[in-house]
């Protein structure tokens, strides 16, 4: 009883082992145990999307996943988006379109945007807003985020040509 659990998982392509309490969220494990602090905590109840990660092929709010559930799963966090060559085109588009002010929501928006563009490379404005409805931003008013996503879609399409 009251023993920590050994979890073996894969984060951003690398095997990661960690020890956690069963009650700890994946977000807590990422930030406080593994040291990946890019995923943010806004609400800790699934509403704000600042903690968004790709879990088992699908975006989720990592505050509503238990760390122990990561056993044998693959996870991508914001730290896995840029490459050694530089920022991802989505990140560049967010910067250049001023789609962030304080930036606390940005990691979640970028992980969610990448998942959107991976499965729908040319989304309509409605599709963008609907897909990102689980991500809240207190600063930008959202329009600039939508422009950045549209710009990122364009950049990704032209880089594939």
């Amino acid at each position: 009883m009251n023993a920590k659990v050994h979890v073996q998982t894969k984060i951003n392509g690398e095997n990661v082992d960690f020890l956690c309490e069963p009650r700890q969220s994946l977000l807590e494990c990422l930030r406080d145990i593994i040291g990946l602090t890019g995923s943010k905590e806004g609400c800790n109840d699934g509403n704000c999307g600042a903690c968004t990660v790709v879990f088992d092929g699908r975006i989720v709010t990592s505050c509503l996943v238990l760390g122990v559930e990561a056993q044998g799963k693959e996870i991508t966090t914001i730290e896995g988006i840029a490459s050694s060559e530089g920022l991802h085109p989505i990140q560049e588009a967010f910067l250049e379109n001023a789609a962030l002010q304080c930036g606390i929501c940005t990691p979640g928006f970028i992980v969610a945007t990448k998942a959107l563009l991976d499965h729908n490379p040319n989304p309509s404005e409605y599709q963008i807003r609907f897909w990102l409805a689980n991500n809240l931003c207190r600063c930008t008013g959202y329009d600039k985020i939508v422009f950045a996503v549209q710009d990122a879609a364009g950049r990704l399409a032209s880089s594939k040509k």
Partner: protein
């Protein structure tokens, strides 16, 4: 959240054994989008979390033209609305599954969890009641089938005993000339709790209502089945007058409260208007159905 143990049984029998042993102190975890919020808010207390996502029967998403659709209690919303049979035969399910939370919540949330959480505002439940869905429930004394309209009792209370688990939801086989629809009213475009939600199902024959079922959310302590809506128009012509009559029955059956989301008058009005709109779409779907 206080200390809690975690276990992921891989068979239904193991899960039932754990429930028998721990009783009310076991917290069943499907997508966790209600459970983890409740535990963290200390609105619920569990000694052990029983994660049901590794049990084969609970991951079923099987369709058969004769027997219908079986959705396991651990299947998340996004798998349901991306399923080709659901898209083709059960568009009414997508109405609900695609509006529970946002994309991230739908990556985890299940329809089984929506039912078992038994919120008066649960978005998936009116559709289930309207479509005549039955639940398969397993416990240490065996398996029983329960119609969804008998499942919820009061806010967060339902007929499940502490040693029971919801295994799957069984949607009747698709029939020609039938259609269903779920709509809700919320002040935002998405990510909010229904002020009123309406699920409807119709079966048409020679431009008459052969069957009509209406269910409402957020107008009573549990989602309700409005039987009078059906009895008032079955056998009658499909026209505006009869759609309005069924909608009036929904308004009369609604017994809402006034809270920060809406007043009694507003909710009764919404029950009527949304029933009308939902019926119009369900009738269109019935005319196009395969």
């Amino acid at each position: 959240m206080k200390w809690v143990d975690y276990i992921q049984p891989s068979t239904l029998d193991d899960a039932l054994g754990l429930l028998k042993k721990h009783g009310e102190k076991a917290g069943i975890l499907a997508g966790g989008t209600d459970l983890l919020v409740l535990l963290r808010a200390k609105a619920k207390s569990s000694d052990i979390i029983v994660d049901i996502k590794n049990i084969a029967e609970l991951n079923q998403l099987d369709f058969d033209k004769k027997t219908g659709l079986t959705i396991g209690a651990a299947v998340p919303c996004y798998k349901i609305y991306n399923d080709s049979n659901v898209k083709k035969y059960y568009p009414g399910i997508i109405d609900s599954a695609s509006i529970i939370g946002g994309t991230q919540i739908q990556g985890r949330a299940t329809l089984g969890g929506n039912l078992c959480n038994s919120a008066p505002s649960a978005d998936a439940v009116p559709g289930m009641i309207a479509m005549g869905v039955t639940c398969k429930v397993a416990g240490s004394n065996g398996v029983r089938e329960v119609p969804v309209e008998e499942f919820c009792l009061a806010p967060r209370k339902n007929i499940l005993k502490p040693d029971e688990i919801l295994v799957s939801l069984n949607y009747p086989a698709p029939k020609p000339n039938t259609g269903s629809r779920y709509i809700r009213f919320i002040p935002r475009n998405e990510m909010d709790i229904a002020v009123v939600g309406v699920g409807v199902y119709v079966e048409l024959e020679n431009n008459k209502f052969k069957d009509l079922r209406v269910s409402l959310a957020s107008v009573a302590p549990k989602p309700i089945f409005v039987q009078e809506a059906g009895t008032s128009v079955v056998g009658k012509e499909v026209n505006e007058e009869n759609i309005n009559l069924a909608a009036l029955k929904a308004k009369e059956a609604a017994k809402p409260i006034t809270d920060m989301r809406g007043t009694i008058e507003f909710r009764k009005h919404l029950s009527e208007v949304l029933t009308k709109r939902a019926l119009q779409t369900a009738i269109e779907r019935a005319k196009e159905s395969v």
